[in-house]
Amino acid sequence: MPAGFSALDFYYILPELLLTGGAMVVLLLAVLTPRNDNLLLGVSLGTLVASVLSVSLFSGLDVTAARGLLAVDSFAAFFKFIVLLSAGLTMLMSAPYLRVEGLKAGEYYFLILCATLGMMFMASGVDLITLFIGLETMAVSFYILAGFLKPNPRSNEAAVKYFLLGAFSLGVLLYGMSLVYGATGTTSLQGIAVALSGQSPSMVIVLAVVLIGAGMGFKIAAVPFHMWAPDVYEGAPTPVTAFLSVGSKAASFAMLLRIFVEALPAVAADWSALFWVLAVLTMTLGNIAALTQSNLKRMLAYSSIAHAGYLLIGVVVGTERGVASMLVYLGVYLFMQLGAFAIVVAMRRSDVVGDELKDLGGLFRRSPAAAFMMLLFMLSLGGIPPTAGFMGKVWLFGAAVDAGFVWLAVIAVANSAVSLYYYLRVVVFMWMHEDAQPGSPLVFGPAMTVALGIAILGTVVFGIYPQLLFEQAQAAAGTLEGFSATVALR
């Protein structure tokens, strides 16, 4: 162990270590017992659970570890919960999918765990290098996962698109980071904030803001950096799409918040304006483009773009309330989006792809439970009470109103109305159309049942009693703000 490093540093990264270890075990098991899917799933889930438990060990803590490269605070914990939960749900819904598609579970779960690992570093990193390496770990995993259906040209294409554009945007992001480093001489977020405080921001920093914004905008699929998203979402294996749209997005938002709120408060006015435009463009284009989609995954892709737009409101606002409401929204988004994708996964059977809107036709007759759950997810995505999506929207828009971004709130509100049009189209297909195929009713395996159960539980419970989520989000946002506040004091 090198000097200056203590065991404590490794203690603080216990969740990550557990995750890494678990991933290695999964990889080994994949070689040793390649066809034992259930075991692999069990080990992977166990890893996640262990990780979750170890994350909760540090609840309430607000320290930096690993020589100031990682923060162990409520903000990180919140995002770690989110990404771990989304990874878990993704795995649960993957189990039947992998069977239908005949995919190798070992590598798949390994990659998911590694992606999760990357996300966790994105959530807790407080240094550009940590954040960057976490981002890449996640991204590379996803490049592979997107192309996991090798015989499927769509999956290939999705992988190519995601990969090329991801690499391209990585270049842009890194260029921005290099400019920041050049201007401040450090990669530590705290250091950057200190270096920038008390001077008028130079144009180089603004340039860096734009470039980093573009790079992060790519990851969260903000318009106009979103164009990969629909194609990739459509082509990638459905559970991967789900994970991409939730886990990757959440982690990217964590990183985005870390960079902009913690490192660049000096140019807050500039990036706030940038994200204002991005938010408006993203939600509007996302929603409008979703209106006429006939492919369910593609529609959900646009919907997820639109949701990124809503989430950006929290960034624009930039206040503690804004961040908190954004976290709340991410929390509920996790359940509803994954739930919706879980239904799409469940539609996939050996003979049916099930991701076209018309495949949902008459779903109500085939499987009332699935139709009902999908209804709840759609309503939640549209922000109709008593689902969690409503509570999320209320707080997000409320934060905007509170901070005086009334027009942003109005645009968001109008957008959420537009969005209901296509969410309701899904409902129309399920409930008011005739059977697409008079197939047998949908069968949920145990894993899928658990996944859907968790998703629906989250969607409904947080819709009716969101107190828990609110508390956690507020605490998390508090630590993020507190960090930058201490910077300001120094």
Binding site: I133, E157, F163, S178, T187
Partner: protein, 102 residues
């Protein structure tokens, strides 16, 4: 003009970055596009190294190490993807990859 400042390196880097950009945007061979992306990453590296030199700490260089590592990882994965794609479509022309659109 004769004194080489970090600005010179930065502008070189910007130019290299732009060449990379152009390569990404205009070529149709995926492999070449990928190489153009490597050029962009190199531009970043030049930047980082130049700044590290200027601010007299090595963080920039550490950063470059990671960038190179990432570039290597991406190259491996990217080329794997290209191979998988090629098996299916018998092409590396990027314009033929638009099964999914609108």
């Amino acid at each position: 003009m004769m004194e080489i400042t970090p600005a010179h390196y930065t502008i070189l880097s910007a130019a290299l970055f732009s060449v990379g950009l152009i390569g990404v945007l205009v070529r149709r061979n995926i492999i070449i596009i990928f190489m153009a992306i490597e050029l962009m990453l190199n531009a970043v590296n030049i930047n980082l190294v130049a700044y590290a030199n200027e601010v007299e700490n090595l963080v920039g260089q550490v950063f470059v190490v990671f960038v190179i590592a990432v570039a290597a990882a991406e190259a491996a994965v990217g080329l794997g993807i290209i191979l998988a794609l090629f098996r299916n479509k018998e092409t590396v022309n990027i314009d033929e990859m638009n099964v999914m659109r609108s």
